[in-house]
């Protein structure tokens, strides 16, 4: 706990609603250690994106505290301490691939020369260097997501928050991207918090998993993923993997019925 880089303490969130208030988050506490890969699994509408907006400092919790390192993210005094990959790729249409990738570095005072260098290296690594002068609309969805990911990766902030990054991809591309993401994470020694609907995806990639309930949302369970790294696709077919997957599935199902 002592080396946790992100900490959320007893977070509640209410939104105004036509019939009074909507209680979205109900006493959420979670933490992410430095260098850890943590996933959040939760049903649609449970408030996962809201959680990210709070971590990013653009939404204030109704009560509770959020710390990134020493900084209290109360939604007022300070925003923008994370690297963020939103659910939609959200590339700027007026920037080409390379300048899109540089955005996060620009916003955080990296010298232009270094930013250009890092962006080119990054694009080469993801095999998109020949597209660096292209505009986003000319690229496939998968390419756009890789660029959006690279933009987040090169943003020199401590925590990377990825909001359902692979939701719109086909199974093959998805697997590819998952492997690639884990590989980057290992190489760059980043800290990652990932939102997903997919139990399998969370199990395959993370160190730990938080399972959330339906609204008003609380933490149903925390799992520490036991599989050693490096993990390969064959892991998906092992009995222990399937068993754990089913266990989490059962857990989520029962609670949402109760």
């Amino acid at each position: 706990m002592s080396n946790s880089i992100l900490e959320m303490k007893q977070i509640h969130k209410y939104f105004p609603h036509e019939s009074g208030t909507l209680h979205v988050l109900n006493d959420i506490s979670l933490h992410v250690n430095e260098g850890e890969f943590v996933s959040i699994l939760g049903p649609s509408g449970s408030g996962k994106s809201t959680l990210f907006h709070m971590i990013g400092g653009i939404t204030a919790p109704s009560s509770g505290e959020i710390y990134i390192g020493q900084h209290n993210m109360d939604g007022i005094s300070r925003k923008g301490l994370i690297s963020y990959m939103p659910q939609q790729a959200s590339l700027f249409p007026w920037r080409n691939v390379e300048t899109n990738v540089r955005l996060g570095m620009e916003l955080n005072g990296i010298r232009k020369k270094d930013a250009i260098k890092q962006a080119r290296e990054g694009l080469a690594k993801v095999g998109l260097e020949q597209y660096s002068k292209h505009y986003p609309h000319a690229l496939s969805g998968g390419m756009q997501q890789r660029i959006s990911f690279l933009r987040a990766l090169l943003t020199p902030n401590v925590v990377m928050c990825l909001d359902e990054p692979f939701a719109s991809l086909d199974a093959f591309t998805r697997m590819d991207m998952q492997n690639w993401l884990v590989q980057r994470w290992e190489e760059e020694q980043k800290t990652i918090l990932l939102i997903t609907h997919h139990i399998e995806e969370a199990l395959y990639m993370s160190d730990r998993i938080y399972v959330l309930s339906d609204k008003p949302t609380s933490v149903l369970a925390t799992y520490t993923v036991p599989f050693p790294r490096p993990r390969t696709e064959s892991l998906l077919a092992t009995e222990s993997f399937t068993k754990l997957k089913f266990e989490i599935y059962q857990h989520m199902k029962q609670k949402s019925r109760a």
Binding site: G56, I58, N108, N157, C161
Partner: protein, 256 residues
């Protein structure tokens, strides 16, 4: 180049054909109905008149073009400045935006004589009028563009650490450029008309309106038609230039 001309022709030939057809119809009906030139001159009469007074018309047109350009530039400048200020300073927006919308309803034509009373028979009323005409469309469309910047983009830059100013510079301003251009096109089209109204009201001795007024008072109707053509050509050229600039600067499009 050849290919481009071909593409232009493929797109433009229906409109072109219609114009030619109307001109022919006009020419023939003038012969058939034997209308006097001062009531409705035929295209060939207008052309003959152009051969006579072309040089003078050119000079008058350049005078009008000059004041139009100056007014247009001022309109762009004040329009963009207003939009940025109202966007970045919320209380300014609350205080002035309603006024801006309401003041759009003032008929600018009716304003022209008042401006002449205030500032006299000189170029100042001209500039003010053209500037006003260009100002509103640019201001309104740019504010709209700035305010409509999509939320997911805003969330993204703010969560990654953008200040308000950076959000404006790197996101809202580029996002609003297509909107600015649609404002510019409206302004460009109306600016020449604004210049003509100003010249007309101020009783200028130079400019295309002065030429038309003089021609009208001596029943030289073909010359008035030459004036129409000049106004149309100027407005349309203006519009085309803005259009080319837009294609050149705005290479993307929001609707994907």
């Amino acid at each position: 180049m050849n290919n481009r001309l071909k593409a232009l022709w493929l797109r433009g030939w229906p409109a072109f054909t219609v114009v030619i057809f109307l001109l022919i119809l006009w020419e023939f009906s003038s012969y058939i109905f034997q209308l006097d030139a001062w009531i409705l001159p035929s295209p060939s009469m207008i052309y003959d008149e152009w051969l006579l007074v072309g040089d003078r018309v050119w000079e008058h047109s350049m005078t009008t073009l000059k004041i139009t350009l100056i007014g247009f530039t001022l309109g762009i400048f004040f329009g963009i400045t207003t939009a940025i200020l109202l966007h970045l300073v919320p209380w300014l927006n609350r205080a002035f935006f309603p006024l801006l919308i309401i003041s759009q309803n003032i008929p600018i034509i009716a304003l022209a004589p008042i401006l002449v009373i205030w500032f006299g028979y000189n170029l100042i009323p001209h500039y003010i009028l053209i500037t006003l005409i260009c100002y509103f469309p640019i201001t309104i469309s740019m504010i709209t563009g700035l305010q409509q910047t999509e939320h997911h983009y805003k969330h993204l830059v703010q969560m990654m650490g953008a200040s308000k100013w950076e959000t404006f510079l790197k996101l809202e301003l580029p996002f609003s450029t297509p909107y600015i251009f649609s404002g510019l096109k409206i302004s460009a089209t109306y600016s020449v008309m604004g210049a003509v109204i100003a010249e007309w009201a101020a009783g200028s001795s130079n400019g295309i309106a002065a030429f038309m007024k003089l021609s009208l008072s001596s029943f030289k109707t073909p010359r008035v038609f030459i004036g129409f053509i000049v106004i149309v050509v100027l407005s349309f050229t203006f519009y085309l230039i803005i259009n080319v600039l837009q294609k050149w600067i705005v290479k993307w499009n929001h609707t994907k």
